[in-house]
């Protein structure tokens, strides 16, 4: 077929000369190259002891944020669950009772908030959908585990630590 553009180049393969057909010089060349690599700097990062730095737009484990007074930001609107393409997020909403104003910022909060880490594809759409800036994917790598049920992360693993120093 006639090419539409003229970008295609047909490589011309010359017949090999005697030294190329002998194949041995090519092998020695290759062996010299690999030998040089023995003395190059090793690229290995010794993982558990040292960790490679994450880039700025790294998306790792989710965390549910608190505001400046240590109250949970999430209002259980469900937009994150709606936006999630992998349907990894589920939640049950509850109404804030009297005396819980210090715990939750809005009148409605998430009583149960679960993310299935086996389903999650770490796309970051929940982060973008959230109107309250409550969820961010700024954590480390999700660790491995033995059972499927252990990959469903509840609020105990997701919610940020309360700001204890400021409360005191």
């Amino acid at each position: 077929m006639e090419p539409l553009s003229n970008r295609k180049k047909v490589l011309e393969q010359k017949p090999m000369n005697f030294w190329e057909r002998l194949y041995l010089p090519a092998i020695f060349q290759g062996m010299i190259i690999t030998f040089r690599h023995m003395f190059k700097k090793k690229e290995t990062v010794f993982y558990p002891e040292f960790q490679r730095e994450f880039s700025e737009n790294w998306r790792g484990m989710h965390s549910l944020k608190r505001d400046e007074e240590g109250r949970e930001r999430c209002t259980a609107c469900g937009l994150c669950a709606l936006s999630c393409p992998a349907e990894a997020i589920t939640m049950i909403a509850a109404e804030r009772q009297k005396g819980e104003e210090a715990l939750y910022r809005e009148e409605k909060y998430a009583a149960v908030y679960e993310i299935n880490m086996l389903r999650c594809i770490f796309c970051g759409l929940c982060e973008e959908a959230c109107p309250k800036e409550a969820i961010y994917l700024d954590g480390p790598i999700v660790p491995a585990d033995y059972l499927r049920k252990d990959f469903i992360y509840g609020k105990d693993k997701l919610v940020e630590e309360p700001l204890k120093l400021q409360q005191d």
Partner: protein
């Protein structure tokens, strides 16, 4: 047969057995380390300091893995295969001269298990026997891929035995003996055979790569085409036996090449060293030199493995039959002409 003779031979066999086992075990570590270094990595380094105990960990793992024997295979042959492979790879080191004679308590003790006058042919025979382990194992697995691997191993080994034998004939013409001990003695100092038989050595080297089934000729276990080749169905320690046999064969091939072409236990200035060190320590220094040469060859085997890609099967056969055999015959003719000219002069 006196008792001392039996004891000394038994001790020597034990020592060489242990040495070859250790070298084979640590070859597995060296292979992974060298692969790492050549690819800008560090290789295994967790078990012990610098990965020292990795072979032990691997061996333990092999012992504790489940052994699976396919129900449709013939069990006896399935077990015989790896045993035979391991057995034949041990046999060859019997005729390697490991050093000059040592004088212990007024007795000359030879550092060679046995000096039969057809030593070189013996090694050749043992090597040609090695393919049975692979063939029997591959056939007994009752698996198409294993059978393909076995068939490839058989035809490859037979094809490369011919140029190997022919290159040895050229060496025989210049040494005039088949005994490994005499060949080693003739290469005193730096009078190594590599200077008389460079082409023969090259052919022998290529053939020994093919005979030990190492890359670029590892078609019997070519994982991109044949899953695992002849050991597809093997698991646990039988798999380990096959792997061990490969490394032992590599050790043996390195020992044979060092002895035949690179002077064995000889090194320049050995007379002076022997005078200084005495007749007990001196030969053992020679043995150390031989082992260093063997290490160099093992490194070469691994270096080539991580550099050169695998050959295609027809390329392998072309190389063996159309290039190496004519080259080896030409080498014989040239050697004959040169020897005749030198005799006439």
């Amino acid at each position: 047969m006196e008792l001392a003779f039996i004891i000394e031979k038994f001790a020597l066999i034990l020592v060489i057995f242990v040495i070859s086992l250790t070298i084979a075990a640590y070859s597995t570590l060296a292979e992974r380390k060298i692969a790492g270094f050549l690819q800008d990595r560090v290789g295994p380094n967790r078990a012990g300091p610098g990965g020292m105990f990795q072979p032990l960990a691997d061996g333990l793992k092999m012992f504790f893995k489940e052994e699976i024997i396919p129900t449709e295979s013939s069990t006896a042959l399935f077990i015989l295969g790896p045993s035979l492979a391991l057995f034949t790879s041990f046999l060859g080191s019997a005729v390697i001269p490991w050093g000059q004679d040592v004088e212990i308590a007024g007795r000359m003790v030879s550092l060679q298990i046995t000096d039969i006058n057809v030593g070189m042919l013996y090694i050749f025979g043992v090597v040609s026997l090695g393919v049975y382990g692979i063939m029997i194992g591959g056939w007994a697995s009752n698996n198409k891929f294993s059978l393909m691997g076995a068939v490839r191993a058989a035809s490859q080994n037979i094809s490369y035995e011919i140029p190997m034998g022919l290159s040895i004939i050229a060496l025989l013409m210049s040494t005039n003996t088949l005994s490994m001990k005499e060949i080693a003695e003739q290469q005193h100092g730096i009078n190594w055979n590599i200077f008389y038989q460079p082409l023969g050595f090259l052919i022998f080297l290529v053939c020994s790569f093919a005979e030990t089934n190492r890359t670029p000729f590892d078609l019997p276990e070519c994982e991109t085409e044949l899953v695992g080749g002849y050991h597809t169905e093997y698991s646990g320690f039988k798999m380990g036996a096959y792997m061990f046999a490969e490394y032992l064969n590599m050790f043996l091939a390195s020992a044979v090449m060092s002895t035949l072409y690179f002077g064995g236990y000889n090194y320049p200035g050995m007379d002076w060293v022997n005078e200084m060190a005495g007749s007990v320590i001196g030969p053992f220094i020679g043995m150390g030199v031989l082992i260093l040469k063997i290490f160099a060859f093992i490194f070469l085997f691994m270096w080539v493995r991580w550099t050169v890609p695998r050959f295609r099967y027809d390329q392998l056969m072309n190389l063996g039959w159309k290039i190496l055999i004519p080259l080896a015959i030409a080498n014989i003719v040239i050697t004959g002409i040169v020897i005749t000219i030198f005799e006439k002069l």
